[in-house]
Amino acid sequence: MHEWPESRQLLAVLARASRARRARAILVAVMRGALVAAPVSAIAVLLDAPLLWAAGAAAIVILAVMTVAHFQFDRSRAGVARDLEVGAACRNVVVTAEALLREPGPTPAHICRVVIQDAAVAAGQVDISTRWPVQSAAIRTAAALVLLASTALLASPAVERLLPSIVTDAASAPVLTEVRIIVEPPDYTGRPSETFTNPERVTGVAGSRLRVEASGPAAALTMATATTSVVVPRAADGTFVHAFTLETDGFVALTPADTAGATGVRRLIGLTATADRPPAPKVTTPGKDLFLREATETLAIAVEATDDFGLRALRLAYTKVAGVGESFTFTEGEVPLTLERVSPQQWRGRGDLSLTSLNLEIGDMVVYRAVAIDTRPGAVPVESDSFIIEIVSASEALAEGFAIDDTRDKYALSQQMVILKTERLIARTKSAQPPDAEMLRDEALMIAAEQRSVRAEIVFMMGGHFEDEFVEAAHEHEISDGRFDNSGRADLGRAVRDMARASTELVDVNLAAALEAEKRALEAMERALSRRRFILRTLTQRESIDDSRRLTGKLGGASPGRRAVAVADVAPDVAQLRATLALLATLQAQQAWTTADAARLAESGEALLAAAPQQRDIVDIVAALSSIGEAITSADANRVRTRLTAVSEQVTGRLRAVAVPSGVTGSAQDRRLKGALSEALSRGGGRD
């Protein structure tokens, strides 16, 4: 039966149909698998799973679908015949012929041949390529595979921005994709330029030039700082460039806009201006005050200076102070230094100060200090701590390093003490071992200085001093003539003049005359400071009393005072921080964000800046708020969530610092119970 030509013809058709049918089934299975795998892969990508995982999941899904199709597919020849019959006008003859070919049974051969012949004719009329269109199936399968592969692109940031996002509707807002800030420090610092890309805060030396370069799909850009706002034109290369000088802490806000004028999310960058510290000079050797008996030596002095950027000069300056009483002379000078430049930021110098050439006498002193200037243009000289070299008497020289506070000693002095010291000195001159002339003179000079100190106290108490005590003394008769109505003041005046005389006599080592004058001064002081007397002094115009500002008046004219209740407002930055925190909580609870949310964040940031434009942490918070707005615009849900948490911590930290602690504990019932307990205990006595 199989040898019949009709049979071979039918079998060939069935074989061809079987191949086409199987090929199409495979393609359809792959296509279905890809279609099912595509959403699986997309979800995996959106959930930030690695691409390999997404591909593996897709492959598993495709294989699963193909496996199911494999077991459902009837691969037998009978199945091919049945499928061939579908849609063709074969009247079941193909199926019958295939059955006869497979198992003729008792059917007569001639009938079999007729049936097979009819089946071959019918099968031959069927267009296999139309019945099982492999080409179209292949195209569809390819399309499904492309769709599946395209899900991997969801992980690409570029595609993320292009695709409609599930978290925002803000893809069309003008936005800055990149902001570069080039910080050019002042030339004198010698530091190189720094470039910051998409920074949240930029730090530079005060006086640095900041060049801001922004790029992105925007038609215009408004660049604002705490003091200015400029509209930056778009350059030919599509960027926005603006430069300004960094003077103080603050911010720069960049607001893009499209051609219609609609503004995008503002980016705010905090600015920190680091001040150029002044140089720090110091005297390293000898680095202490010196009290010398004679000014005959040459003093070796070493100085040093450091600066954060660089030094321009280092000098050793001195001032010679000579004279006594109120007659001092000051002479300025410099000591030549041998400089050693350890680095541009650290200089050392050595010099010799010849005291001989300064012609110093006892009581004179030299004040010396290091002076440094840094390289900043217009910088003023900075002086180190000053040290003194004082030429003192022999007794003072011996006490070097053990003397009590000179000023305190002076405050402790009184006219009585001056008299006592003078009497002692006189007594020593009459003793068995009198001091030599030089020592006597030194000690007399010391007492003279103390006498001047006491006199200065009295002059201060009187509210003024005499420009020339000798001239003043020459007019003493005016006092006795009654020019001064108040005798207390007159007595004080006499005391002052007697003290001046005593001082003069002591300088001349005329001890007896000095003692007499000291005692007269004491008597005058005792009269003047009697408790029964007032010391009046004239007041300058500036010191005069304004009677209109004194609480004086008649009791009958007194009336109750009344003023309105003071209203204290919450600090604006605190109130705005609290509002910002509430907004952040609202956004944190959302699953998706829109441009309206970004706008609310921008408004909140503007209000914060208006409340506290110069506070660094506020500027940082506003910068973080604007970065959340950008993350919303760029549909980066993870970044939005992370940023929300971070800026919330900043805001709560700031609020924690300014909010007052609440100490309310317990309920009203607790308080009543405490009150009842307290009273019950009170009835039984308190505790010690």
């Binding site: 204290a568 909010a659 100490g663």
Partner: protein
């Protein structure tokens, strides 16, 4: 034969029906037990207990006054002890993860304040590694701490800070975790309010202390300061419209009264202040300036004698990180009962500012006479100290209408419990409202002088609601929140001792969840003699079925053999 049997059976049944015999049955114990789940009980725990008890007792889970006993399942005692006998089944604590035992949070906080929420966290035995604690509100972290666990400690108590963002009921969540363990969370609520407390500063004569305290208070946005300084007889300087200290009713509008030169008060004024403390339950701050005539304050201070102490040097006084100093003190000869220190002084074992309760009110006394002298130092917190003390005292003074929820976070299906205190307000009416405008009247039940109690089933829809209490033009509201049952994790208290005590006090006992076998016999023993039930089967209507059955068989057999 069968016919006869059937006929005889019918006759016997009829006869027995006439006799109506009864038989005695000794059934189950008959005890009806209610299961009540509290914090720490999971649904599985409740199911486990129900299955263990069901063979022995009748188990109900709804409030039923007829129950013989209540079985509390959980680690917390119920808010209200049950009326009858009570047993407790305590689930075990976690042995691997930390548990938030309690969150101490004021019921009401001011929007302008910084609130300390103290969390008590139990750590499993032998736990190692730092315990990480985070306080969140509205999903936002407010504070986080990581602290080591001391060897041998089974719990830690950690203060965490929370800054309110907006008024209203606020949820505060504490999360605790150890390395390698699951995170434990618990939620507490507080009412954030933005209200201006009214303060009266009364200077019995001009004094520096009251002047500088008043100036400090006037700079606080939370406080509205009215003041009177009596400068002479019949002559005073007023800020606003202060009332005289003659009528306690006139002082009702004030939350705190600050009295400067308190020794110059008259006995009548002291009596008025005492009435204010007891009736209004407010706070009075006494700032004496001298030790003369302080006896007049005895009704308020309970101190009969004071000792003036002038120190040679300034002594630093501190309170919660705020420091100031003074050198002149007025020490009580005997400290009154119930006195609480508000400052500490390292040099002096006595407190310069202290508080004493009187009724529901509080008297705050400053024993530091000259603290105002050093107020201007850069590191001196004199003004801040008084702002905090007065603001806290004002916040503790109850409002004219105070609404207190037993728990402002209610699960669907539970009951909302509220207590209302209203002072001198007639015709109170209450209703709850939702955010969409729906409202329902709430019945108020008298619960004492000027107190009312309200209970109503929580709304079925989760969300924010508020209870509004009105009397004439006065209207006060407070929020409560309804959540799905089981969606909120509460602190898991470890008051198993208290639970056991409560159970013993109610005639029951406490058993561990793993030791449930001991419970059914005790519950069965609640009914002293199990009721003897007499069963009368012939009183049942079903007896007609066998009677009709045998008659029908007998009739069918007769018809089959041809008989009629």
């Amino acid at each position: 034969m069968i016919e006869r049997v059937c006929r005889a059976s019918a006759l016997i049944l009829a006869g027995l029906a006439l006799v109506d015999p009864g038989c005695s049955l000794q059934g189950a114990s008959g005890a009806r037990v209610r299961l009540l789940a509290t914090a720490g009980a999971t649904p599985d725990d409740v199911t486990h207990v129900r299955e263990a008890l069901a063979p022995t007792v009748d188990v109900v889970e709804t409030p039923d006054p007829e129950v013989d006993a209540t079985v509390v399942i959980g680690r917390a005692a119920p808010r209200r002890p049950p009326a009858g006998p009570m047993f407790a089944v305590v689930p075990p604590a976690s042995s691997t993860s930390p548990e938030v035992r309690a969150i101490e949070l004021p019921e009401q906080v001011d929007l302008e304040s910084r609130v300390t929420a103290t969390a008590t966290v139990a750590v499993p035995a032998g736990a190692a590694g730092p315990l990480k604690l985070t306080l969140l509100s509205g999903g936002i972290p407010h504070d986080a701490q990581s602290l080591p666990i001391a060897v041998g400690s089974d719990s830690v108590r950690v203060p965490l800070t929370f800054v309110p963002a907006q008024p209203g009921l606020t949820l505060v969540q504490i999360s605790a975790s150890l390395p390698g363990s699951t995170e434990a969370t618990a939620v507490a609520t507080t009412h954030v309010v933005q209200q201006e407390h009214r303060v009266l500063v009364h200077d019995a004569r001009p004094s520096w202390a009251a002047t500088f305290v008043r100036r400090a208070l006037e700079s606080d946005p939370r406080l509205n300061v009215t003041a009177r300084s009596v400068v002479s007889r019949g002559l005073a300087t007023d800020v606003g419209a202060p009332p005289a200290l003659d009528s306690a009713a006139a002082l009702d509008d004030f939350d705190v009264i600050v009295v400067g030169a308190a020794e110059a008060l008259t006995p009548a004024q002291v009596t008025t202040l005492e009435r204010y403390l007891r009736a209004r339950e407010g706070a009075v701050v006494l700032l004496p300036t001298d030790d003369d005539a302080l006896g007049v304050l005895r009704p308020l201070t309970a101190i009969s004698r004071w000792n003036l102490d002038r120190r040679p040097a300034l002594e630093t006084l501190s309170a919660d990180g705020l420091e100031w100093s003074a050198s002149e003190f007025l020490w009580p000869s005997t400290w009154p009962a119930g006195a609480e220190p508000l400052t500490t002084c390292p040099e002096t074992p006595r407190c310069a500012v202290w508080r004493r309760p009187i009724g529901g009110g509080r008297v705050i006394v400053s024993s530091a006479l000259d603290g105002w002298r050093t107020r201007a130092g850069s590191d001196v917190d004199y003004a801040e100290f008084w702002r905090v003390q007065v603001a806290n005292a004002a916040a503790a003074t109850p409002e004219r209408v105070a609404i207190t929820f037993a728990d402002a976070l209610v699960e669907t299906g539970a009951t909302v419990h509220a207590e209302i205190e209203a002072r001198r307000l007639p015709n109170l009416a209450a209703e709850w409202q939702d955010t969409l405008g729906s409202r329902a009247t709430v019945r108020l039940w008298p619960a004492g002088a000027q107190r009312w109690r309200a209970e109503w089933p929580a709304p079925q829809t989760p969300g924010r609601y508020r209870l509004v209490v009105a009397s004439g033009d006065v209207q006060v509201s407070r929020e409560f929140m309804v959540v799905e049952a089981g969606t909120v994790q509460r602190p898991l208290p470890s008051d198993s001792d208290a639970l056991a005590l409560m159970a013993r006090a109610h005639g029951g006992q406490s058993v561990a969840l793993s030791d449930l076998a001991a419970l059914p016999p005790q519950l069965a023993g609640l009914v002293e003699a199990p009721p003897e039930r007499v069963w009368h089967p012939f009183r049942s209507a079903w007896i007609i079925v066998p009677f009709a059955g045998v008659l029908s068989v007998e009739w069918w057999l007769r018809r089959r053999r041809g008989a009629r």
